[in-house]
């Protein structure tokens, strides 16, 4: 459940890099830890974030998951389908459950992201 083509963070975000844009979501592992997701708070379009800043919030019934910006950039698109169907994050975390797209302002930061193998090893280590 860790797609090879994506990049990852230790906060369990995934990143799909396409040109100067990066689509962001939370991993299968993260949605499983949270349980039934009932609410997603998305950032406003046009918001500028620094890497590591709070980007979105994903809530289950009894837990709140903060999503941090994996890269610095500007929010250019958000997945508004999650407003009515937050459970898409559970059902299809890497597809229909994406959160937002950033226009990346510091492409070099991507070098610090984990690849699939690195993320898999991280998840195993942290039990």
């Amino acid at each position: 459940m860790i797609p090879r083509e994506l990049r990852y963070t230790e906060d369990h975000e995934w990143v799909r890099l396409e040109g100067d844009e990066a689509r962001v979501g939370i991993t299968h592992h993260a949605q499983q830890q949270l349980g039934d997701i009932v609410f997603v708070e998305l950032p406003p379009r046009g918001k500028k974030v620094q890497r590591g800043e709070r980007l979105a919030t994903v809530e289950s019934v009894k837990a709140v998951g903060e999503v941090f910006a994996p890269l610095s950039g500007e929010v250019v698109a958000t997945n508004d389908a999650l407003v009515g169907s937050p459970d898409l994050v559970n059902k299809d975390p890497y597809g229909q459950g994406w959160l937002c797209t950033l226009r990346v302002t510091a492409p070099g930061e991507a070098d610090a992201l984990l690849d699939a193998a690195g993320y898999e090893a991280f998840v195993q280590r942290s039990g």
Partner: protein, 438 residues
């Protein structure tokens, strides 16, 4: 000897033996010796139930104020409480339960909370209510914090006519949150006289009725506020007949729920209610019961939207509130169900009718008049030459009104605040007037 301890000497021995521990004191060996050595008892002997009963009843009877006929208000009112309320509250499955964390064993609590939320929304004209706050004052303070977090503003507009103890609690909370209170004056009719709304305002507080008992006109207030919240502090009894703040665009309606089936209780416990718009649900403090279904499709209730609350969101919570005033909210629920719409309207109009009858008679006395011309509900400010003398005359007749100093912070030096509920009889009104004449 602790009478609530069921363990016999034999029980204690058997339990210690099962653990292989020599004596009870060994169970406390982890408390540092230096701490244990510093311990000093309070100096209290044990007492039997009869002695405790004598002591507490003695204290209850020591307050002379309890034998006076109350024409007292100022935020708490002496309404009739149908005995059925007390009987329901004494169902100890309800009164000795904790917060309904385990829904399957708490359907009683969660169902009445849902009923209560419905009734508060009906009274206030709002979309969603929480399951209670400590009291009206802290409910108001929490509403202001909610407005601050939503709008970012740091200025709170507070009427000069707000009850002084509400303002005092609000001021404490506002200081904690770094907010400042700006006073809004009242006009000659005693009603709010809103001027320019300063930049950075997060909320305007309006009290319905206000601290003088006068009914405010909320028309158009919300339009003056921009993004700032209109927060109404309402007495629930008049809402039976007075258009609710929800109809005037209020963002939050709070108030003291004591008049609904709860005694004045020397000021506590009380019942804060808080209702708002669905748009602000996620910013609302306090518990909420919601309807859902079980795995067999049967309807049931749970505490919901818990991610707002301290036990999940910790420092990011909408409030620190945990224990609230549940049993007082149950009293309000049963009270409203017992009265129904017609009964609540009757209580409101009885209080209104008798208050106005008394006001008319007092205003006709030489040396007395009304402070304000605005419409009032069941409480009114009387202007008199010698308020202290008037209070003393009433006291000699066995009648209690608030001390004149109560109105000083509201800018009234020569007045008395008089409240009348449906419990005050014709004879008691006669006695009131006769005392002032005497």
């Amino acid at each position: 000897m602790n009478p609530y301890l069921p363990h016999t000497a034999e029980d204690v021995r058997a339990m210690l033996d099962a653990m292989g521990i020599p004596d009870v004191e060994a169970l406390f060996s982890d408390i540092p010796a230096a701490v244990r050595e510093r311990y000093r008892p309070v100096g209290l002997p044990p007492r039997d139930e009869l002695a405790v009963q004598r002591r507490l009843i003695g204290l209850a009877e020591d307050s002379t104020g309890r034998r006076l006929i109350p024409f007292l208000g100022g935020g708490l009112y002496d309404h009739y409480i149908p005995p059925v309320v007390g009987h329901v509250l004494s169902r100890s499955e309800l009164s000795t339960a904790y917060t309904p964390y385990q829904a399957e064993l708490s359907q009683g609590t969660l169902t009445w909370m849902f009923e209560y939320q419905t009734m508060i929304c009906e009274l206030t004209g709002m979309e969603v209510a929480n399951a209670s706050m400590y009291d009206g004052a802290t409910a108001l303070a929490e509403a202001v914090l909610m407005a601050h977090r939503t709008t970012g503003g740091k200025v709170v507009l507070v009427p000069r006519s707000l009850l002084p103890h509400l303002r005092a609690v609000l001021a404490t909370y506002a200081w904690g949150a770094g907010l400042s209170l700006h006073e809004v004056p009242y006009g000659e009719d005693g009603r709010l006289a809103l001027g320019r709304v300063p930049d950075g305002t997060c909320a305007l507080v309006v009290s319905q009725p206000n601290g003088f008992g006068i009914l405010e006109d909320l028309t158009g207030l919300k339009d003056c506020l921009g993004r700032a919240f209109l927060i109404a502090y309402a007495n629930p009894i008049p809402l039976a007949v007075v258009e609710p703040p929800g109809s005037f665009g209020a963002d939050v309606v709070v108030g003291e729920g004591q008049p609904l089936g709860n005694p004045v209780s020397f000021g506590g416990p009380l019942l804060g209610f808080l209702a708002t718009r669905m748009a602000y649900l996620r910013r609302m403090p306090g518990r909420v019961s919601g309807r859902t279904q079980d795995r067999e499709g049967k309807a049931g209730y749970v505490m919901t939207f818990q991610t707002r609350e301290q036990h999940i969101r910790r420092e990011g919570a909408t409030s620190n509130i945990c224990t609230n005033s549940a049993l007082c909210a149950l009293a309000a629920t049963v009270y409203l169900a017992a009265l129904g719409p017609a009964g609540l309207r009757r209580v409101a109009l009885l209080a209104y009718e008798r208050a106005h009858a008394l006001a008319d008679r007092i205003a006709a006395l030489p040396g007395y008049g009304m402070e304000f011309s605005g419409p009032f509900f069941h409480e009114f400010a009387v202007r008199c030459v010698d308020p202290h003398g008037a209070v003393a005359k009433l006291r000699r007749a066995g009648i209690a009104v608030l001390p004149p100093s109560f109105l000083h912070p509201l800018g009234i030096e020569d007045g008395l605040l008089v409240a009348v509920t449906e419990k005050r009889t014709e004879e008691e009104l006669d006695r009131f007037v006769a005392a002032l004449e005497g």
